[in-house]
Symmetry: D2
Subunit: 272 residues, 4 copies
């Protein structure tokens, strides 16, 4: 059985040794291992993928035994686990299509358990993919909170969802909601970034996948990418080029999350 | 003889026909031709490279004859002309080195007629390249104005010049001063952009070549480029990666200027 | 009415002037104009988008009048015309999905008039998009020739079609069939390029959109793009990254073709 | 004191644990740690940067003690060690300039101990940088072997050296000689790759840094990069764009080598 352990704690000597002792004690063999110590917070983070014949529960107990002198945050998942994912969308479908297609062919290791939208236009697309569609009109955040509570998703993805989640939802799901912003943050925060980009005459446009916090467009950045554009691109052309960047960046961020490769440290991310 | 004509005027039918008539009247043949009409200002801009047996003066008179019913701005240069370029630098030499080397091997079609610096540390480097070095201490803008007036450069390049030119210089040289800013504008204006980028946790860093205006970091953008970075890059690493982007972007902007391929239209550029 | 004229002929003085005279004679105004003379073949190519009150037929006659002393190839289309496009696919759907979606939202200016496949697995996907699906088993090239002859497409697109068109089809449709090859040609011609790339240990993988000729993977290249990869990418990961490059590159090539921006000159393309 | 350990051996359970035990036994703390197991050769490779109060020799003995049941290859260097580097160049100076400049400012952690050239034209450039210049005419490989034997470099860099090292030199320095080839291998092996690229009409050009083996342009690839080009680029333009890619790719490969981040595994590299 292949497992992934994701752990973090204040850096100090002996952590990696303790982790590898725990894995050895479970007759395990490490397949992949990545670690990083954030120089500002001194937080040590580690992702280890390993083979073992023990169950998730048994190996977790070995970890806690070996690591009990460190105050660690630890998560252990079977490597094959598909994270339960709730997607939010509005009218633009390009990001949603990509998530549905890539999860269907197994390229994204997620199970899309529902799509919430403040419009009904994407209902057919979602239901054809055999995913449940929830129409929740704008500002009915109580309904959204209820759905989150029922579904208990591992991950929420705002796939060009043109509405702000209220602060209660943001606060209770720190590090669990990924948004795609259609500019290279911190450039062009707020509405209509492609129009802002056109006004400013920039020669590159971009998109940013970030964790959602209460502070709009200020959340920890996961990944970003850009395309080169020139004077002949009007806003409609920027939007067209942007669609491709947005879906690519968002799908990649979701893939990394699904593989337990993203750590949230303060207002930044560590991405393996 | 090969000439380049660069012209702009309010868009209206018949301009291209009039230009090509003028070239035909001079027994010329067009080698390259690019044009664009800015949809906001309705300004038409055109760059034409052509062969002719007439002199620059004779062909200019053909142009004015053919185009006298349009109110045009017209510049005609021999295609081989090397623009007289005055470079400004401080202590960082990577951009300056590139300009000196690329102009020496003929890759940049400019003649560097002097380097002004507010430090003396780059003197040897400049003089080895047989270029005149002017040490002008910080805030002696009168001396700078005098030098510009003597040298009459076609182009001024701020190659990581860590000092602001005063508004008189900016206003009298609109569209003639290129600066390299070490971020992808409009992100991270102002000082220490790599440190700002580190604080914000961005996953791309960039550089922007732009025309200098009185308003710092707000000038018309010429070109931009980026590199991907990750959580392991500390400010010193961002600076190292940034060096390569900066010199590449600045040299490319200077190359485009030298080839008469940049048009300034309002607060934007049209780059062929 | 907006029209696009696409013309080519041996380079000589006076062509652009004659074209612009023809447009002026039709009371037209040029909106976009691009031209290039290939230094090897001396072929002059030009794409002009202009406004006029004349019909396509009337303006074509003005062009022929003005240009009758040059031996030109000329095509004139209404700028809004959507090229009739026949798509070929096998089992992989990512490129096909993109073409269907982008043409549906108007981002690709084509009308997909049919999809031919040597498998039945994509039938539902195609019919949901209200496009006709033709199942043509492998090696039934006579059926394909019949369909092409009935449909008379302006463009054929091989969207990961894992079968070779016979030489009759290739020869009769020079410059009209676009293929996506899943490597950066000339690297990794032939089958299983991602496996070849893995064996060689390359650090970039790519995709190439090219016109189809009789000589497999030797056709004129239209556009190419790449992504960076590292030692941890096994063939399945290269295929996953490749999917995104392939669809992006193919859709972009189709977009350029739809806008009459691709000229075939010998074994190369000129792309505006 | 900061040390870097670089080790490889056949993969088996317990290696990481043994390494971390050795470091703990030396009262060390791990700062960076990367590892990978090649799925084809089953070779495990690891790079660990750690702090310790022991000497390099003492810690090496701890490593050998802890790891004596594994047959490991082990190298331990002080993190601050600058690798002794011998550069080979011919007439083109762009790569050499970059190596000299970047090592001078400390951005490349190497000490350039000499430049060998089959031309005398770069002598002044090299001596100005206070580096010894060796003029060795073409085909005098015995002289080169003698110089290598005297200098005992950690690394040799072929910085656009237009001559082939003989097989004796190649065989005795496996994994120690880095070359820059001016194309994206395996495309355009051999001479004049930019001319080959022009003939083929490619839309991207590139450069590849690779370890030198006896088989020209077949060595293990370290890194590669590309730039987009179009039909208007003639060979001289491709060469100009290529210069920038070459120096960037070569300097980056040298930087990675200097940091002990490159492992040679069969005909591939693992690059951390």
């Amino acid at each position: 059985m292949e497992l992934v352990a994701k752990l973090s704690c204040a850096d100090q000597p002996g952590i990696v040794n303790a982790v590898t002792s725990a894995i050895l004690a479970g007759s395990g063999n490490i397949l992949e291992n990545q670690q990083f110590t954030d120089p500002i917070t001194n937080l040590f983070v580690m992702r280890t993928k390993f083979q073992t014949e023990l169950s998730t529960k048994e190996i977790a107990s070995k970890f806690h035994e070996a690591l009990n002198r460190f105050q660690i945050n630890l998560e252990i998942f079977p490597a094959e686990y598909r994270k339960k994912t709730l997607v939010f969308a509005s009218q633009e479908s390009h990001c949603l299509r990509d998530l549905l297609y890539l999860s269907e062919i197994g390229d994204l290791q997620i199970e899309i358990v529902g799509v919430i939208s403040n419009h009904e236009s994407l209902k057919d697309l979602v239901e054809l993919a055999k995913v449940q569609f929830f129409y929740v009109p704008r500002n009915n955040q109580i309904e959204i909170i209820k759905l989150i509570s029922q579904i208990q998703p591992d991950l929420m993805v705002l796939a060009r969802y043109m509405q702000i989640l209220n602060s209660e939802i943001c606060q209770q799901n720190i590090g669990k909601i990924i948004n795609i912003h259609h500019s290279f943050l911190p450039g062009f925060k707020g509405a209509k970034p492609y129009h802002q980009a056109y006004e400013r005459g920039v020669k590159i446009i971009g998109a940013t996948a970030h964790f959602v916090t209460e502070h709009l467009d200020e959340g920890p950045i996961i990944i970003q990418d850009i395309s080169h554009v020139d004077h002949a691109y009007e806003p409609v052309d920027l939007i067209s080029v942007g669609r491709d960047i947005e879906r690519r960046v968002l799908s990649k961020a979701v893939k990394l999350f699904a593989q337990d490769k993203i750590f949230l440290v303060g207002n930044k991310t560590i991405v393996f």
